[in-house]
């Protein structure tokens, strides 16, 4: 692998709690990755456009508001529609365990809930790249 892993950290939906997203962004960067953070209130369309434009390897989204079942799969589907199939798509936030199987089935490769160690996220990204 020549170039460093590129990650888009995104906050879809309306909630403004980005502590987790920022901590993850920083730890991915400390692990040597290039991290782009979208800032708050991104629509699925905006996230997909940014991911394609920045040519990232990973899209990591964080939601606390409960809108994950609606917004995460939307991003996966929009990427598919754009013909993108080599990005690793991750989700995180306050997400009930019962929702995780649905999200995984929708194409989110992994869901990280509160209490996850940043090392686990870094390791997962490193070991599951699609390119």
């Amino acid at each position: 692998m020549d170039r460093p892993i590129r990650v888009l950290v995104a906050k879809p939906g309306l909630d403004g709690h980005d502590r987790g997203a920022k901590v993850i962004a920083r730890s991915l960067r400390d692990a040597g990755m290039e991290v782009i953070y979208t800032g708050l209130r991104q629509t699925p369309e905006q996230i997909v456009a940014a991911a394609i434009q920045e040519d990232v390897d990973v899209v990591a989204m964080s939601i606390l508001s409960g809108a994950h079942n609606h917004l995460f799969p939307k991003v996966v589907n929009l990427l598919k529609e754009e013909g993108v199939d080599d990005m690793l798509i991750l989700g995180g936030g306050v997400i009930p365990e019962d929702d995780i199987p649905f999200l995984i089935e929708s194409g989110i490769e992994a869901v990280f809930t509160p209490g996850t160690s940043t090392k686990d996220v870094v390791d997962f990204v490193t070991n599951n790249l699609k390119r």
């Binding site: 309306l14 502590r19 209130r41 508001s65 409960g66 809108a67 306050v94 509160p114 209490g115 940043t118």
Partner: protein, 559 residues
């Protein structure tokens, strides 16, 4: 506090204690850690003695409850007179369901209401806006118009309860709806008691539910100050919030510093708008977090109270004692709750409740055990409320005022939090005040650094979180979680359609045009917002008019 001779003699005793006792003991049993720190990473000494508070002057630095500098509390009898208001933050799904939850909580002995709005409402979008998709009714109740507000408070007499509303960017609109509902109930404005959060600066710093740019937001806020000082005199017009700053990862001293710096900015804006400090300052209130480090938290509240009193008196020349009193609501720390072993959260919340009460809070929300997973169920909300009742009636800590005062550690820590907070405030002053410091990303960066440091400490096991990085268990016992059904969003949209077809649309249009004109002038907007909501203009319609005139805030992303 102590004379020099006494201090000298204690100093020599400490030296011999160290030689005789400590060194021997350390040789046999080393301490658990090399360095002990508070939850906010302040180093904690092995022992505190009068040496640590030698320079304190009782009358000047502590004084008496209800008297300047209010270190020991804002009321003279504190909880011996009246307990704090037990105010659970609640709201979800539709106005009907939230109304039922409020009635349930009032039946369970809650003494005030606290309304949680969903994100579209907090950002001024109607439920049928494209951006609202998936968010309607999720983190709070969806309020699109006065119709919803009427249902929300149906059967709840607004002259009998006080209501806190966690609403910031569109606070003027929701307050107007509240006043309109009261009018319909036959309750006059002067009788209304409660609080709107109305603290936009912390939205830019930590919580993210802003709409307009800072200058326009500050105008709306001072419009509310002015309007309420004349029309709704018992209303707390702002709750200056450290809660979210702490949730975003700040330390205790940063929480005090950044909150009071925001407070200073509001006072300055109001004075600049021509208001007299003693006319509006008594209606300012604060909102703090309660974390796990019990003693540090108690010191934090005491430091905040003393510092604010000094700021109001010395910096703003307030004359009324009421202007100098820092009254605050507390919420236990959501960010300390774990998804692992959720029942442990009941214990965390109990410790945090004690911190808030020993620190002299005026009202309290206790989080529910399942909040790291979803919105709380009725069962878990009940336990959270009972936690307050048990601390209030069984623990004995409410029987005397400020019971930890005089503890060498508490007083020393109170002093050092005040000093550290003051240093931050001076730095923010040098940057041109809180709005400028936010624009430059200074405050956000300080908080982010603290948050990252904390996370690294947890991961390196320097900080133990039971059930997360130590004492983990295989989790089998799944709790039932509250779910907000998709039908809420669908119904809410349907209701809007009906509303738009039944109301007098010409009147709505007329009121919105007037509001737009007034927004372009310097006039106080409250009366015009009130006219608009009374004609059933929706929240989104009112906010869109203001968006057109004011523009929208764009966050500067800092990593």
């Amino acid at each position: 506090m102590f004379d020099d001779k006494k201090i000298d003699s204690i100093k020599s005793s400490v030296e011999s204690w160290d030689k005789e006792s400590i060194q021997k003991s350390l040789a046999r049993f080393p301490e658990r850690k090399e360095k002990f720190t508070t939850g906010s990473n302040v180093e904690v000494n092995r022992l505190y003695t009068p040496i640590d508070i030698a320079d304190m002057d009782y009358n000047e630095d502590l004084g008496f409850p209800g008297e300047y500098p209010f270190t020991r509390g804002v009321q003279s009898t504190m909880y011996r007179g009246r307990l704090w208001t037990m105010r659970q933050y609640a709201g979800f799904a539709s106005a009907e369901e939230s109304n039922q939850r409020y009635k349930y909580l009032l039946d369970q002995g809650q003494t005030g209401l606290s309304v949680a709005f969903d994100l579209p409402t907090q950002i001024g979008y109607d439920s049928d806006d494209g951006l609202s998709e998936g968010e309607v009714g999720k983190v709070g109740v969806a309020i699109d118009s006065l119709k919803d507000m009427e249902v929300l408070f149906a059967g709840i007499p607004l002259d009998k309860v006080s209501t806190s509303m966690t609403i910031n960017a569109p606070a003027s609109v929701l307050l107007a709806m509240y006043i309109a509902v009261a009018e319909k109930q036959g309750v006059s404005r002067e009788k209304l008691r409660g609080t709107i959060q109305n603290d936009i600066l912390k939205e830019y710093i930590a919580r993210g539910t802003y709409i307009f740019p800072p200058a326009e937001s500050m105008r709306l806020i001072t419009n509310i100050f002015e309007y309420c000082s004349k029309e709704v005199p018992q209303w707390n017009t702002i709750s200056i919030s450290g809660y979210h700053i702490r949730e975003a990862g700040s330390t205790a001293a940063q929480e005090v510093a950044f909150t009071l710096a925001d407070g200073i900015a509001y006072v300055e804006a109001a004075i600049k708008a021509g208001l007299d400090v003693d006319d509006f300052a008594p209606r300012l209130s604060f909102f703090f977090n309660a974390h796990n480090d019990l003693l540090e938290e108690v010191a934090k509240y005491r430091a905040a109270r003393r510092l604010w009193a000094k700021i109001m008196k010395e910096r703003f020349n307030a004359k009324s004692a009421k202007s100098m009193q820092l009254k605050f609501h507390t919420q236990t720390a959501g960010s300390t709750l774990t998804a692992q072993q959720p029942d442990n959260n009941i214990i965390r919340v109990t410790i945090q409740t004690l911190a808030a009460v020993l620190g002299g809070t005026q009202s309290l929300h206790t989080n529910s055990r399942d909040e790291a997973l979803a919105l709380p169920t009725e069962d878990s909300v009940r336990i959270a409320l009972k936690t307050q009742q048990i601390v209030a009636h069984e623990s004995g800590v409410t029987e005397t005022i400020d019971p930890l005062a005089g503890s060498y550690y508490i007083e020393s820590l109170t002093n050092s939090i005040e000093e550290e907070a003051m240093k931050y405030i001076e730095t923010i002053d040098e940057l041109g005040g809180s709005p400028k410091a936010i624009e430059k990303g200074y405050i956000q960066k300080e908080i982010q650094n603290a948050a990252y440091k904390y996370q690294m400490e947890v991961e390196s096991l320097d900080r133990i979180v039971v059930g997360v990085n130590k004492y983990q268990i295989e989790e089998t016992d799944k709790k039932e979680l509250l779910r907000v059904d998709k039908s809420v969003e669908i119904n809410q949209r349907e209701k809007l359609k009906v509303l738009r077809s039944e109301r007098n649309n010409e009147e709505v249009e007329r009121n919105l045009v007037i509001l737009k004109e007034k927004a372009q002038s310097d006039e106080n907007l409250m009366p015009y917002i009130l006219d608009a909501v009374k004609s059933y203009a929706t929240l989104g319609e009112v906010c869109n008019v203001l968006r057109e005139v004011f523009g929208e805030y764009q966050q500067s992303v800092i990593l």
